[in-house]
């Protein structure tokens, strides 16, 4: 195993070169059929979002338009302005950003340390501890939501954004550690030994050798942690009751519950919540997919 294999760069070219070189089949009609079917599927995926964005850009009406508008007929930014200012979605957006960014930083830092210990050393109870972490991946979070609530209460973490960060980070640890450990194990031992010859201690090796080499995996862990925290709803619903401490999902759901017909506003807030997700997704697509398929592809 060489250092090259640590970097996903260049693997695009490795994507079945034989397939690209193969001469074009004369049956181009099949290509057309394939594109047409996939296009239909993609339209089904996107159409709900088009209706969502259109509704958010149109004035609120008492009855819904029939047929539904896939593109807005009359443009207004009123829903966005009202959601942002009067309904405090600016505050919810800020809360979500604060919680998600802190969760991302904390879970990447903590899990890279834990993963490093598992990948680099042999120590007593190591395999037992790692099995526990893996078991944690299998347990649906909701099974422990009652005792977690009791715990959050005794730690004074109800109605606290930092409390959310604490539990979101903890919830990511098992997955990100699992992900990063596999990556650290592939760091060539020759490099580690070379640093020993240069007199480097273990902390220096961790910071100068292992962390930089694991950048792709760290990015994967960061994308997962961010999206996980940004989209989370059930735990926030359980522990946050102060309306000023709501995150975006909580704010959107609560607003829809209180104003069941103000769909333009609900969808303006929803669109605002989805934009960062799409930005992070498009920017980190490669890393996200690396994370999803870890463990699945054998």
């Amino acid at each position: 195993m060489t250092a090259i294999s640590l970097k996903p760069k260049g693997s695009r070219e490795a994507d079945n070169p034989s397939r690209n070189e193969r001469p074009k089949r004369p049956l181009n009609i099949w290509l057309l059929v394939r594109v047409a079917i996939v296009l239909c599927g993609a339209v089904m995926m996107v159409a709900p979002f088009m209706i969502m964005v259109s509704t958010s850009l149109e004035p609120n009406t008492a009855t819904l338009p029939n047929p539904p508008h896939f593109l807005p007929q009359t443009l207004t930014s009123a829903n966005y302005e009202e959601a942002w200012t009067e309904n405090n979605f600016a505050g919810f957006f800020g809360n979500s950003a604060y919680v998600s960014v802190l969760t991302t930083v904390a879970s990447v830092v903590i899990s890279s340390m834990t993963a490093f210990a598992f990948a680099r050393f042999d120590f007593p109870l190591k395999n037992f501890m790692f099995s526990l972490l893996l078991a944690g991946l299998m347990i649906p979070g909701i099974v422990v939501i009652v005792p977690q609530f009791v715990l959050a209460k005794s730690l004074n973490m109800l109605d606290s954004l930092e409390g959310l960060v604490f539990f979101y980070t903890a919830g990511q640890i098992a997955f990100t550690t699992f992900l990063l450990r596999a990556f650290f194990e592939r760091v060539p031992r020759e490099l580690d030994e070379a640093m020993t010859v240069d007199g480097a201690g273990i902390l220096r090796k961790f910071l100068v050798l292992y962390i930089p080499l694991a950048r792709p995996a760290l990015a994967t862990a960061a994308v997962f942690s961010f999206l996980g925290a940004w989209d989370e709803y059930v735990w926030a619903l359980t522990v946050i009751s102060d309306a000023t401490k709501r995150t975006l999902p909580l704010g959107i759901a609560a607003f829809q519950g209180e104003h069941s017909t103000a769909w333009g506003l609900v969808f303006a807030a929803s669109t605002l919540a989805v934009i960062p997700v799409i930005a992070v997704y498009v920017a980190g697509q490669k890393h996200l997919i690396a994370g999803i398929t870890t463990g699945a592809v054998k």
């Binding site: 693997s11 599927g41 120590f123």
Partner: protein, 324 residues
């Protein structure tokens, strides 16, 4: 696929025993210089994990044996297995289990089949391939809150988009269907949301796996005169069976854990008829503050999920051997 080459190495190298090690070689020795060095690195993560997952799991079991009191002034009463007995005799609990089963049957096969279908179509080069993959994946990264409210809106009875599509566009139905106001149609709507949201995840996992099926196998099959369907059944499916099992097990677990979509689309209504185990458990715990009963139900569900997952591995694992 962008990084499957790396990925496959990554997953292959996961079991640490699989790589040959030269023990005791200089500074790269796996024995730490001091016993506490690995613990110092691992401690923050392990403590956090044990505190928020390990300890609550034990605590959850304990709470489930009590008539738990949320008030600190009132003592909780040990009632043994009463909460479990109560759940198994509670018709509403069974309704919720049946609903989760219906949701599973309506959503999981369709999600997996469609995910595989589109993955096969997208596997070969075509214009806009990357864009298509991105579009299919957007529902996956979107919050359950946003998509659940969006589907609630689409399934509105009066002038909802789905009713417009059914009555005016396809002329399938003469009158508007009150989708979310009756049990079975509401479960259909919730299942459609499940399919729509999870399809992209299945697609991406299958795409990664399809790239690993040897090209030479397809070429050999083509020489034998196999058509596209034969290639799919005899080369593709056996080639990705491990991934297929993985996707299926995770989707089944996900179906038993269906929660925010039901909470936000019907809230278990009308009259509790669309309740699923997690919405019912959540209400018992946090609306009626019956923590003991809620914990007992979540344990029953966890054991059930564990047994079903194990059975799937056992069943498909043996079938896998037979296919060889």
């Amino acid at each position: 696929m962008t990084s499957q080459g790396v990925l496959r190495k990554q997953t292959v190298s996961t079991p640490s025993a699989a790589r040959p090690r030269k023990p005791g070689r200089g500074g790269a020795s796996r024995t730490p210089s001091h016993w506490w060095v690995p613990w110092a690195f691992a401690a923050p993560g392990l403590i956090l994990f044990l505190l928020t997952t390990g300890y609550p799991l034990v605590r959850s079991l304990q709470i489930s044996f009590y008539k738990w009191s949320v008030l600190p002034t009132q003592a909780s009463k040990f009632i043994g297995l009463d909460n479990y007995v109560r759940a198994l005799a509670d018709p509403q609990f069974w309704t919720s289990v049946v609903n989760a089963g219906v949701y599973l049957l309506m959503s999981v096969p369709a999600t997996v089949a469609l995910g595989l279908f589109f993955a096969v179509l997208l596997q070969k080069k075509m214009p806009g391939r990357t864009l298509f993959r991105v579009l299919f994946y957007i529902p996956v990264v979107t919050s359950w809150v946003v998509v659940s409210l969006l589907f609630k809106f689409l399934f509105t009875t009066d002038n909802g988009a789905v009713n417009w599509f059914m009555t005016d566009f396809l002329s399938l139905s003469a009158h508007a269907v009150p989708w979310l106001e009756q049990r079975w149609t509401a479960l259909i709507a919730i299942s459609l949301l499940g399919i729509w949201k999870n399809l992209g995840w299945c697609l991406v996992v299958f795409l990664a796996s399809l790239g690993g099926v040897g090209e030479e196998l397809y070429e050999a099959a083509a020489l034998d005169g196999a058509n596209a369907w034969h290639k799919f059944v005899h080369v593709t499916l056996p080639g990705i069976r491990g991934t297929l099992l993985f996707v299926l097990v995770l989707q089944v677990i996900g179906a038993f854990n269906v929660f925010p979509s039901v909470l936000l689309m019907t809230n278990g209504g009308p009259a509790g008829s669309t309740e699923v185990p997690l919405t019912y458990m959540y209400k018992q715990a946090f609306s009626f503050l019956d923590f003991g009963y809620g914990s007992a139900m979540s344990f029953i569900l966890a054991i059930f999920i564990f047994v079903v997952s194990f059975a799937q591995f056992k069943f498909f694992g043996e079938k896998k051997e037979a296919l060889r």
